[in-house]
Symmetry: C2
Subunit: 359 residues, 2 copies
Amino acid sequence: MEPLKMRIAREIGTPALVVDLDVVERNIAKVQALCDAKGIANRPHIKTHKSVLLAKMQRDAGAKGITCQKIGEAEAMAEGGLDDIFISYNLLGEEKMARLAALMNKARMSVAADNPLVVEHLATAAALAGHDLHVLVECDTGRKRAGVETSAEAITLAKKIAATPGLVFDGLMMYPPEDGAAISNAFIAEVRAGLREVGLDIRVISSGGTPNLLNLGSLDGQTEHRAGTSIFNDRMMMAAGFASMEECALRIYTTVVSRGGPERGILDAGSKVFTTDTGWGLKGYGHILEHPEAEVARFAEEHGFLDLARCNDRPKVGDVVRVIPNHICPVVNVVGALVLVRGEEIVERIDVEARGRLT
Amino acid sequence: MEPLKMRIAREIGTPALVVDLDVVERNIAKVQALCDAKGIANRPHIKTHKSVLLAKMQRDAGAKGITCQKIGEAEAMAEGGLDDIFISYNLLGEEKMARLAALMNKARMSVAADNPLVVEHLATAAALAGHDLHVLVECDTGRKRAGVETSAEAITLAKKIAATPGLVFDGLMMYPPEDGAAISNAFIAEVRAGLREVGLDIRVISSGGTPNLLNLGSLDGQTEHRAGTSIFNDRMMMAAGFASMEECALRIYTTVVSRGGPERGILDAGSKVFTTDTGWGLKGYGHILEHPEAEVARFAEEHGFLDLARCNDRPKVGDVVRVIPNHICPVVNVVGALVLVRGEEIVERIDVEARGRLT
């Protein structure tokens, strides 16, 4: 039988983003089981796959709802039938509030806020929609991303939310660093004590991140978890100790289109496919299954430059290779077209609905 | 009157990619004038803008044809009515040859090749199309990208092209480094001499790159030039000395959605909008027009992290700012939605046809 990669190169062409649904199903089940074991609701972040089909697979496996990072993602998901959506992002502005209000009439919406202006804007969305909007206070417990930086600020903001007509204070959202449980727990305890004085409950404590699934349960009172990358995994998740190579569900199939000397090779996928994210101290931009000693050393927009110095078995022009990228999320965002397979069988080609949404 | 950026934030929402057509027209005219002054044909690379509308503006200003980097780009352009297309890339595989043959019946197509396998594949496209395909030998004259590495290889490959039924040897294509004229000229002279012995002419010498427009005319016998970025320009083109800030036609409008301490700020555009390209020794990922001392220091996927340590006038939550990115080409590829303006007037919103094409 013709190997899958030759069939994909011949029928579909390279570069191609090939997703093994058998691996995806196992990855979804693994996360759901981790959450179930700790009694924590699973609310996967769809920023990784951006696909209604895959979000529904997560829901059908037991996810309570989904997480989105922008209105456009939530619109695509609500349109596709997902009905419990948390947008873990500060939303601002008239145009976004109108869209949020429309979403509130299609799905159970909750959102994050880390400052008073966002809360004031959210109140206008609730007024437009004519019913309540659930709001979580985003807390920075060490990652230095968004979020209020002190428990005092969190308490003040929670009170403001609770006092704002149309808004319901739901709880706290955070994205702690992998070693951030102690800081997060102190933060949560202070906020809980401060809010108890005014009779406010923290009903939801939402944490996130695929690597944080490794320490699930270390956050006091965590009620739900948002993981994105775990559905596909990538080289960073291997480096983080979360995933094995067999758990990397998405591979970039690409063709060697030029060699240029004994130690160089060129793939037909560059920064416009792989993007240039690095992290976790990784060397190079991808792992080539057929040539693990080859380094994906740098990119032009449509060229992937291979350093073959450490390769005994070197690829030749015309060879098709499979690459696991460093970070899968921006790749799907650029490309938006996936080839779904099971083992050696092509199942379906899909466009992901929320790819490249600006707002 | 309401300032443009407030109107865009209110009506369209941020982040938004805003292109000033007055600046675009001046940028197109500048490149055309540079080429005209040297008697070199202008064949702009559409990988930067990916838009039929903008390609037609380039053609109407005097461009001989356009350059594409992949079949999907050429298909979008041919569909839109562009009829002289050079694909400056090694194309391989059955699926691509069928599409190339279809393109040959819509537009005058030429392509690059740097190895014998590509030439053999191109012959199958010519056979399928039923007429001749024009082929240029891609030569590496110092950038270490694709291209044959020696004049001897170029001569051998040119002879193979000329001897292959259905293929026409057109000449040489290169993308020299900015200081690469001497090496390129020696390379060209050797190939010219070698081919003269067998009666083969070099009709086309195609060079490329926006920074190389600064030394246009230094390449012996150059007949055409492929520049991409010059239509929009970016921080890299400013660093390269090609463009002024006023010649940067595309700005990313983005909102400050969080502050997080006195020296930090967060934009609602991260690596999924800006991408993470750097180059030309640039510090940070963008220049903020309103806060030139602010550094766009790093990204999460949907967060742009500002270092405000050197800012006296610091942006506050809700402020809309305009950012010139380091490298504009991958940004348009991800986003694909442009707001066209002239000065303070919104003209039109367009989707760019060839955005995110995989193959």
